[in-house]
């Protein structure tokens, strides 16, 4: 397993290297060059030469390329033009957790809902509900996304007033707050990650148990304890709880909207893969043995139908990250995506390309996680790469 992860890591590093080179050459290929765009044309020629030399733009293109790539790997992305003299890496470090929050919850939600709905659809084939859900799913999949997000805001925020219209927090509410928004947000992230880790550890320990009773025992202790710890923590911190809730309240609508467009693809794919699986002989065998329908669906068919769905995750990933950019912009969620767009619009080239680079990092890392998940789910992959 470790060997598998190591190999994938090396491949990812290579892909990322290719990607960075691509970004660099895109920058080079733009009309004019960066000095003619941003240096005052009236400065004397020798000063211009000096500035160009100081920025490292006087070497050959290969030299510059190598500088760019090594600088990126060492975290030196230059200085933002619009937020001068803040380094780009600082701006991005502030934005990344917010994007991760949005992205991971939307992805989880869309996969859980899409998978469970897809397997039910395949199980009850035909009829009106199947057509309706399929058409609805495809429409969600192809809907003009920014428009859909605006309609969601109109309906749930302006119309019903359940959620705030946009933003990350309510500024007037935070006046006099004991902590800054970022601090509260990182506490939120830490507690959620800790809870996820505990739940994951419980699941792994329960799987390792040889007897069913032992596994059940581990689960019945582990999950409630995780929940108790998480809830207990936030009950105890009642001085910052309302602030944390403010952030969560702002995030519900963007997460739901992003999950809604992503879930349709998962659902349609699960349905297709489930239909394939249901034709297998072992399903017939299970039916002949008299296994209850629900067990056949969930334990025999759905587990095998899960594999292609996880593979498709790679394709869905790019879709959901792209959707994330749109979501963040429409909902004014100050993450990487809205950073990318605003930086592009105000021609802050270092910030825009830096953000693009980190979008690439995000995509590749998510891909790596999916690969590992796939290897865990499908023993054949592990054995193949082990040899």
């Amino acid at each position: 397993m470790l060997k598998f992860v190591g190999r994938r890591l090396v491949q990812m590093a290579f892909l990322f290297f290719l990607f960075l080179s691509l970004v660099f050459f895109l920058l080079q290929a733009q009309p004019g060059d960066i000095t003619s765009q941003f240096l005052n044309p009236e400065i004397p020629a020798e000063v211009r030469e000096q500035i160009i030399a100081r920025l490292g733009l006087d070497g050959s293109i290969w030299n510059q390329w190598w500088n760019y790539v090594t600088n990126f790997f060492s975290g030196n992305l230059g200085v933002s033009f619009s937020q001068y003299p803040r380094p780009v890496i600082d701006v991005i470090a502030e934005r990344i957790p917010r994007t991760l929050f949005l992205f991971s919850f939307a992805t989880l939600l869309s996969y859980v809902v899409g998978f469970s709905l897809g397997k039910r659809l395949a199980w009850k084939r035909g009829g009106f509900s199947e057509h309706a859900v399929t058409i609805g799913g495809v429409l969600l999949y192809t809907v003009f996304y920014p428009w859909f997000a605006v309609l969601m805001i109109l309906f749930f925020a302006s119309g019903l007033g359940w959620f705030p219209i946009n933003g990350f927090l309510t500024p007037e509410f935070w006046r006099g707050a004991p902590l800054t928004g970022n601090e509260v947000f990182s506490m939120l992230l830490w507690t959620i990650s800790a809870a996820a880790l505990l739940a994951g550890a419980t699941a792994i320990i329960a799987r390792r148990q040889k007897e069913r009773a032992g596994a059940r025992w581990v689960r019945s202790i582990g999950y409630p304890a995780t929940l108790l710890l998480f809830v207990g923590y936030w009950v105890a911190r009642d001085e910052i709880r309302p602030y944390a809730w403010d952030i969560v309240h702002h995030s519900i609508l963007p997460i739901t909207t992003l999950a809604l467009i992503a879930f349709a693809g998962v659902m349609l794919l699960t349905r297709g893969s489930m239909l394939e699986t249901l034709k297998e002989d072992y399903i017939l065998t299970a039916q002949a043995k008299g296994v209850p329908d629900k067990d056949i669906r969930d334990k025999h068919a759905a587990r095998n139908a899960l594999l292609p769905v996880v593979t498709s995750f790679v394709l869905g990933l790019a879709f959901i990250i792209g959707g994330g950019v749109v979501t963040e912009t429409v909902f004014s969620w100050p993450g990487m995506g809205s950073l990318l767009l605003t930086a592009t619009v105000i021609e802050d080239v270092p910030l825009a390309t830096g953000a693009l680079g980190f979008v690439g990092v995000l995509a590749l890392f998510a891909h790596l996680i999916v690969d590992i998940l796939y290897a865990v789910l499908d023993p054949r992959i592990r054995i193949q790469t082990g040899n």
Binding site: F14, L15, L18, F19, L22, L26, L27, A29, Q30, P31, H131, T134, I135, V138, L139, Y141, T142, V143, F144, Y145, P146, W147, F148, V150, L151, I153, L154, S158, G159, I165, G272, E276, V314, L315, L317, A318, F319, I321, G322, G323, V325, V326, T329, G337, L340, L341, A343, T344, V345, E347, V349, A352, T353, A355, L356, V359, G360, A363, L364, H367
Partner: protein, 370 residues
């Protein structure tokens, strides 16, 4: 009559001929007949799929809309250039407001306004006078079936005009995708080795990366117009997933006996690629073309919505105008600014997607309903 070099098509043509036929028909006639027969067979399969048919109808309706625009502008009721031009047309019905001394005197807010408010519209006017306010955006009516936008331009004219550019963009993106994906897939499968590895790693990369952020940054570096956007989308989607799928298809064709036969009888690499591999990869390639059109339509709309493209008019620009003038979040009061454009993007993209799915069932027998 067996000649030295035969493509599978020609072989099939000879099999279908009557044994007693005196003179075989010329080759291109046979080809057309075969093509026609194949088309009819595929159509009868495609017809089975109700959702695919629905998609086709939607696309045809949009095609009618695209044709409607030039007709309406040249011989129809939209001939007036100053009013119905989708980009520079202007028309606003005048609303008359009676000016009253104070806000408390306003009885009917639809026909009266107080003198302070009136200064915003008719500077220097006094109570008792009439202030004329051009109404823009204007609701449907007055010769504008879908009303006018915040700049006083006809929405219906914009909507139909944009349909044409959406089709044009889709066509460019689709043709480029097919070209790039077929070439890359065939070359990678045929030559193998380091070229294959390089092209496929590049395809992996393109597949992994989200198109929207890349296109956003590109739009900051270049001025992107419609044909350029079509080419960009075509290249990016052709290099990604489509190239990988087509490569595996080309690999399965490469090992077919007819390919070996052609090679043994002296076919060059170019001959093999162009006469044997590419014609057999093309049907699958057309399938992915449909999905590219879906992507292209919604990508263009998204980028235009953010105001990043150098395009005169499109569905995305219509929404961008509504947003930049502050009408997007005011609820459904100004529905004609919000609904037609968004619905058009959604429906056209869905139409191509439905057709693509139905074609998928025609091409992959595995997916047909039992």
């Amino acid at each position: 009559m067996v000649t030295k070099e035969q493509s599978p098509l020609e072989e099939a043509a000879h099999v279908e001929l009557e044994p007693g036929a005196a003179l075989p028909e010329s080759l291109w006639k046979v080809r057309i007949k075969l093509f026609w027969a194949g088309l009819r067979r595929n159509w009868s399969l495609f017809k089975e799929n109700k959702i695919g048919l629905m998609g086709l109808i939607v696309i045809l309706l949009f095609a009618l809309m695209a044709i409607a625009h030039p007709i309406m502008r040249s011989v129809g009721p939209w001939q007036d250039d100053d009013v119905y031009d989708p980009v520079i047309g202007y028309d606003a019905p005048i609303e008359n407001f009676e000016i009253v001394p104070t806000a408390a005197d306003v009885v009917d807010p639809n026909s009266q306004m107080d003198v302070m408010t009136a200064q915003l519209w008719c500077f220097g006017s006094l109570p008792g006078e009439i202030c004329e306010i051009p109404l823009q955006p204007a609701p449907p009516g007055n010769g504008h079936i879908l009303g006018t936008d915040p700049l006083g331009r006809d929405i219906a004219s914009q909507l139909t005009f944009s349909t044409r550019s959406a089709f044009m963009l889709g066509l460019i993106a689709a043709v480029v995708t097919v070209g790039v994906a077929t070439t890359v897939g065939s070359i990678a499968a045929f030559y193998g080795g380091w070229l294959d590895t390089f092209l496929m790693r590049l395809a992996d990369l393109v597949l992994l990366l989200p198109l929207i952020p890349i296109l956003i940054v590109l739009s900051g570096l270049w001025t992107i117009n419609l044909p350029l956007l079509g080419i960009l989308i075509g290249v990016l989607s052709g290099f990604g997933g489509t190239a990988i799928v087509l490569k595996s298809q080309a690999l399965s064709i490469k090992v077919k006996p007819f390919n070996d036969a052609a090679r043994v009888s002296g076919g060059s690499n170019t001959h093999l690629i162009f006469k044997h591999i590419i014609p057999n990869v093309l049907p699958l390639s057309f399938l992915y073309m449909m999905f590219t059109v879906t992507d292209a339509v919604s990508l263009e709309a998204t980028l235009s919505f953010f105001g990043l493209l150098n395009i005169d008019m499109s569905w995305g620009i219509m929404l961008n105008t509504a947003q930049s003038q502050g009408y997007l979040r005011t609820g459904l009061e100004f529905w004609w600014l919000l609904i037609p454009a968004g619905l058009a993007v959604t429906l056209l993209a869905a139409g191509f997607f439905f057709v693509g799915r139905a074609m998928d069932e025609v091409i992959n027998p595995r997916l047909r309903s039992r």
